[in-house]
Symmetry: C2
C-alpha cells in the first residue's frame, strides 16, 4: 500500500525527549520534568456539583452539537475576567490553548515563513507551528524577556513574534513593565503582530505581573489563555482573543478542526466559575506553588553549594531554569539522574536554533516539599559524580 506522507509529516520525528521521559513514569521516580499542575489543586467537588447541575438543568443542550465559537456565557466570562476591554465576540473557545497555537499556525504560517520566538521558547509552540513548516528564528533574550534591538533587527518579513511574558515556559522568567512597553512599541512600529501566550499569568506569588501585551495594542495581538492551570488541564479548555480582522479566519480553521470544543466541559467550567469561584480558588494554588518554589530554591542553595550552578528565582508559574557548569550536557545527565530516581527536562530542545546544553528546566509544582528536597539532593549527587567524571577525562586528556 502506497502510504505517501506529506512533506511536513516526513519531517516529524519522534521526540527523543519524550522517549527518555517515558522512563520517568515508573514508580519511585520523583519527576521535576513534566509541567503537571499539582492534582491537589483540582476542585473535584466543585466539578462534581457542576456536572450534576449541568446535566440536570441543561442535559440535552450540554450533549448536543454547539457553536464553533464556544459557549456564549463562557465567552462572556472570559471577556469579563481579562484586564482590558474585550468584547465576547472576540473570544474563541479552544480545546486547550495548544489548539490556539495550531489555529494561529494554520492562519498565519506559510512554508518558510519567518516566525520569531524567544530564546529559549515553549517547546509545544515549536511543535504546534511545525506542521505549517515555518522558519523559526530565536530573538536574543535576557532575564527580562526578548531584547528589543534584536527583535527590531529580525522583524522584517516575520509573520509574528510568539511571546510568553508571564513566568515563561521553560525559564520561569517574567517580562518587566519597561520591557513590555518597549516590545509593544517596537512591534507596533515594525507592523509585527504578536502572539501572546499566557497560561501561567494567574499563578503569581507576591504581586500580579504587569498588564498583558494585548492590553496595550489589542489590534496587534492574538492572546491565548487557558483554564488548565487555574482549574484542571484534563478538560483541555482554553481560549483565544483575536482582533476582529483575524477572528473569522481563526473561527473557520477551528470549525474544520473539531467543529467545536466539547460543550459539556465548557458548561461545566462555566458553572464552576459562577459566584467568583476563581477568586477564592486561585489563591490556594498560588500559596501551594510558592511554598514549593521556596523549597526548591532552598534545596538548590543547600545542595548545589560550590558546584557552580546558576538558577533563577521565578516570581510565579511552575518552572525554574538552571544552568550547570561548563562541560556538562544535561541530555547526557538525564539518564544518570533517572538512575538516582529524579527526572528533569534538558533545556536544549527549547531553543529555535542551537540549544545551550548546560541548561535544564525544573518544575516545582507536581512534587511535594519533601520530594523536592530528596530530588534536588539526588540531582546534586548526580552532578557531583558527573563533574568528577568530566574532571577525570580532562586529566586523562592532559599530556603526561
Amino acid at each position: 500500500m502506497n502510504w505517501k506522507l506529506a512533506a511536513r509529516a516526513a519531517k516529524m520525528n519522534p521526540s527523543v525527549l519524550r522517549e527518555i521521559l517515558k522512563v520517568t513514569e515508573r514508580p519511585g521516580i520523583i519527576s521535576l520534568a513534566g509541567g503537571l499542575p499539582s492534582p491537589k489543586t483540582f476542585p473535584i467537588q466543585a466539578f462534581a456539583d457542576a456536572c450534576a447541575e449541568v446535566l440536570h438543568n441543561d442535559g440535552q443542550a450540554a450533549l448536543q452539537y454547539a457553536a464553533s465559537e464556544g459557549y456564549a456565557p463562557l465567552r462572556q466570562a472570559v471577556a469579563d475576567m481579562l484586564p482590558w476591554d474585550v468584547d465576547a465576540s472576540q473570544v474563541l473557545i479552544t480545546t486547550g490553548s495548544q489548539q490556539g497555537l495550531d489555529l494561529v499556525a494554520k492562519v498565519l504560517i506559510d512554508p518558510g515563513s519567518k516566525v520569531l520566538v524567544e530564546t529559549p521558547t515553549y517547546l509545544g509552540a515549536l511543535q504546534a507551528f511545525g506542521p505549517m513548516e515555518p522558519h523559526p528564528v530565536g530573538v536574543a533574550s535576557d532575564d527580562d524577556g526578548v531584547i528589543v534591538d534584536d527583535l527590531v533587527a529580525k522583524a522584517k518579513d516575520a509573520r509574528f513574534i510568539y511571546l510568553l511574558p508571564n513566568f515563561q515556559n521553560p525559564t520561569g522568567r517574567t517580562m518587566t513593565e519597561e520591557r513590555r512597553a518597549a516590545v509593544s512599541a517596537a512591534a507596533a512600529a515594525a507592523g509585527l503582530p504578536i502572539v501572546e501566550d499566557n497560561p501561567y499569568g494567574e499563578l503569581w506569588f507576591d504581586e500580579a505581573p504587569p498588564l498583558p501585551l494585548a492590553a496595550r495594542n489589542p489590534e496587534g495581538v492574538i492572546y491565548l489563555g487557558s483554564f488548565s492551570k487555574v482549574l484542571a488541564p484534563g478538560l483541555r479548555l482554553g481560549f483565544l482573543v483575536a482582533p476582529k480582522s483575524i477572528y473569522p479566519k481563526l473561527l473557520q480553521a477551528k470549525q474544520a478542526v473539531d467543529l467545536h470544543t466539547p460543550i459539556f466541559t465548557q458548561r461545566m467550567v462555566s458553572a464552576v466559575m459562577k459566584d467568583r469561584f476563581l477568586d477564592t480558588h486561585v489563591p490556594t494554588i498560588r500559596a501551594l506553588y510558592k511554598r514549593q518554589r521556596d523549597a526548591m530554591m532552598a534545596a538548590l542553595k543547600r545542595e548545589m553549594a560550590g558546584l557552580d550552578v546558576k538558577f533563577n528565582a521565578p516570581k510565579g508559574g511552575m518552572f525554574l531554569w538552571a544552568r550547570l557548569p561548563e562541560g556538562v550536557d544535561t541530555v547526557k545527565l538525564l539518564p544518570k539522574a533517572v538512575e538516582r530516581n529524579v527526572a528533569f527536562v534538558p533545556g536544549a530542545p527549547f531553543y529555535a536554533g542551537e540549544g545551550d546544553p548546560r541548561t535544564l528546566r525544573l518544575s516545582f509544582v507536581t512534587a511535594s516539599v519533601e520530594e523536592i528536597d530528596t530530588a534536588i539532593a539526588a540531582l546534586a549527587q548526580t552532578l557531583r559524580e558527573e563533574l568528577v567524571l568530566l574532571g577525570d577525562r580532562k586529566l586523562a586528556a592532559t599530556p603526561a
Copy 2:
C-alpha cells in the same frame, strides 16, 4: 499592523450555507437541515452517574494531563467493539472524528495532492482537508457507492480515497457487499490507501451493513469512528484506527494539535460503556430514527405526488437525498422554504467539482414525526410555487 495571512487562510471563505442556515435557528422553523442527533436519545442519567463515579473514584487522574494516544481502557473498548482484529495500540482517541480528518490531512496531503472523494461527499471532510490545499477529485458514484472503473481511472498519484460506506452523508446511501469487495480489491491493486469514515454504521434499521473496508485490508485503511451518534456529539469524542506504519505520524500530529482529547470525557464514556450499555441503548436510537425515516418517506410520497421529485430509501443513518425537477436550484429554493418555516441543506456544496443544483439533503432524526409531516408539506408547497414561477418564466421566455 501587518497581519499577513497564510495562502491557505486567504482561500478560506465563510460558508454561504452556514450563513443561510443561521436563519434556521430562529424559533418556529422546523429544520431538516442540520445533522443533529435527536437529543431524546442522549442518556443523560447514565452520563450523570458516570461523572459522579469518575470524579469520586479517579478525580485527580480524570482532571490531569494524559497520554496523547487516549485513555487505555477506552482504546481497548474501541478495539473490542470493532468487527475485525484490532490491537488497542492502533487506536488513537480524537476530539471528534472531525479531528481524525484534520490529522489525516496533515499527515497525507501536500499542496496540490490529488485526493479522491465520492460524488457527492461529506462537506466537513472537504473543509477539514482544505487547509492542507489538496486537489479533491470526485469519483463517479451510483446508489451503491463509488464506481470502480472510475476509481481505477483516477487512482494514479492520488494520496488516498475518502469513503463513507454506511448511510453516507449527504446521500444516506450504503455501499453494497459486492461494491465493497470490488473497491477494496481495486484500491489494493492500485496501491491506493483508503480513509474510511464510519460515524453512522451503528444506526442501521433492519440489518447491519456489510463489514467495513478496514476489515478487508487493515494495512490499507485508516478507519475513523465516533461516539457522537451512539452516545452524544457534545462530548466531541471519536477515534481512528491506523496501520502501524502510519500511526506514529498521526500521533505526533495529534500531540501538536491539542496534547490529548479531554481525559475527563474519555473516562466518562468509558464508564458509561461498561456492562455493555451500548447493546441496549443503540437499539432505542435505531427504532426512533427508523420511525422518523418511515414518516419522512410517507410524507414525501404523499406531499410530493406528481411533482417529479426523486428520493432514496436510506437503510439507516440520519439523511435522505432528494432530487427536484429540472430547472429548480435548491440554493435559491432554501430562503423560500425558510419563509414557510422549513429548512434543508442544498446538495451542491457536497460535490468536489460542480454540484447538482437540483439535489438536497433532508435529515430525519432531529424533527419529530409530526414536525416531519408539517415540514414536508411546507416544502412541497414551496416547490409547487417555484414550479409555477419557473413555468411562468418559461412562458415569458417563449416567443409570442
